[in-house]
């Protein structure tokens, strides 16, 4: 008897699960309302609206025709409502509880926190770099940062900045090299260290990539620039520049190092 009672109680406790709505209604927000452009041949006296409703990470544009042509829908942006998203239609309940079904004109995925948009090349983080030769307005062997910003390659250092438009790049070539870890004035002094310590310090070297760019100015004059970037970064920069309109004499797949 006790066992039977337990079984009945368990079944009763599970009952609310089946009572819950399985209709699939979701919370949507009206983000925009615009008058619908009537197609040729349609009745111009009937006012219709393109209503944008955001449900989750998708914005649906639906065609809504108010039954009484009250025009209040024009001011509905920002309002929340429960919607049932179908394959071609969206069903919603108005304030009086009347259910209406409207056709979906388009659907667009938007970026959300859970579904971030793919990072564009414009937002690339700057790479530590050195402009070896040829960059206008920048002294030779100047250290700074290099980044692809929009449609230009931007080099900035403590004493200024310089840009090269990607569209005028005739040739982008990468190579590799190595350099002393201790460079600059300290590096020069360290060469004269006693008991061969300068020579010993020369053995500590870091690998670098070279990025060589040839481009033309407004008068058609040919310019060349050589940058060094950390090992492995030149190729990724080149891969960003080529789709944006830069040219190369060596395709990315077959390119080899030059050291």
């Amino acid at each position: 008897m006790l066992k039977a009672m337990s079984l009945v109680l368990i079944c009763l406790s599970a009952l609310p699960i089946f009572c819950q709505s399985t209709s699939g209604y979701q919370l949507g927000t009206i983000t925009a309302v615009a008058p619908h452009q009537n197609a040729a041949g349609s009745d111009p006296s009937v006012a219709s609206y393109d209503v944008s409703v955001k449900v989750g990470d998708t914005v649906y544009v639906v065609l809504y025709t108010p039954p009484l042509d009250s025009g209040t829908v024009k001011y509905a942006a920002g309002r929340d409502l429960l919607v049932l998203v179908g394959e071609k239609t969206i069903t919603f309940n108005d304030q009086l509880g009347t259910s209406s079904e409207v056709p979906i004109l388009s659907r667009t995925k938007v970026a959300t926190q859970s579904n971030p948009a793919p990072e564009s090349p414009q937002q690339q983080t700057p790479i530590k770099s050195a402009a070896l030769v040829g960059l206008p307005g920048v002294k030779e062997n100047t250290e700074g940062t290099l980044a692809v910003e929009g449609d230009k390659l931007h080099f900035s250092c403590s004493k200024g900045a310089s840009d090269i438009a990607v569209s005028v790049m005739d040739d982008v070539v990468t190579g590799d090299d190595s350099q002393r870890v201790i460079r600059g004035t300290l590096g020069t002094i360290s060469r004269f260290g006693p008991y061969g310590s300068g020579t010993f310090l020369s053995l500590f070297r870091s690998k670098v990539d070279t990025l060589t760019i040839q481009y033309r100015d407004a008068d058609g004059g040919l310019h060349g620039v050589v940058f060094t970037v950390p090992a492995g970064m030149a190729e990724s920069l080149k891969k960003e520049l080529i789709p944006q309109g830069a040219h190369t004499s060596i395709p990315i797949q077959t390119e080899t190092g030059t050291d």
């Binding site: 190579g175 058609g220 004059g221 310019h223 050589v226």
Partner: protein
């Protein structure tokens, strides 16, 4: 009387030296080729594989050194449309004849090995392609510095050769003075 003769001889010698010096100076000036502008063409390396960074560094250093040393002519880049109308334009064509890429590490450690050297055939021609001067000039880095320093050495030598053989016109000097921001 004896002193007068001595002074007269000294004066004659001094006058003769002055005349000779001015004549030599005039001769040196007339031997230079007049050029109001030099157009530098991109470095060619058909027979020898030259890495792109060396090719660009040679070209850019060449332009920089010619601008620095030759203050009486204007330097144009390869493809510059403004150079088309210049009558006494000199075109510099450079072809790589030899290249040996050394190693900075080997230079630092051994001080005798790892030198980088580039030999370039430089041809100065006029607007119509007539050769005015041609030389084989090399650039080297033996001890300190990266491999690209050889391109700087080469550019300095070419600029010196150009300075010794070409002189800018007064018109070019005026033009340069007008363009100067100072």
């Amino acid at each position: 009387m004896k002193h007068l003769f001595r002074y007269a001889t000294a004066l004659c010698l001094f006058t003769a030296m002055l005349c000779a010096a001015s004549l030599l100076h005039a001769q040196r000036n007339t031997s230079k080729i007049k050029a109001s502008a030099i157009k530098v063409e991109m470095i060619e390396s058909d027979e020898i594989h030259l890495p792109a960074e060396f090719q660009v560094a040679l070209y850019e250093n060449l332009i920089q050194q010619l601008e620095q040393k030759g203050n009486s002519w204007r330097v144009y880049r390869d493809g510059d449309r403004d150079s088309a109308n210049i009558v006494d334009l000199v075109v510099l064509r450079s072809t790589v004849r030899g290249f040996r890429q050394g190693s900075e590490k080997a230079r630092d450690v051994t001080t005798v090995a790892g030198a980088t050297s580039i030999t370039v055939h430089c041809q100065f021609t006029d607007n119509h392609g007539k050769v005015l001067l041609e030389r084989d000039i090399n650039g080297k880095v033996r001890f300190f510095g990266g491999n690209l320093k050889a391109t700087y050495d080469f550019a300095k030598k070419v600029a010196t050769v150009a300075q010794q053989n070409f002189s800018g016109t007064e018109q070019a000097v005026e033009k340069l003075a007008f363009q100067s921001p100072i």
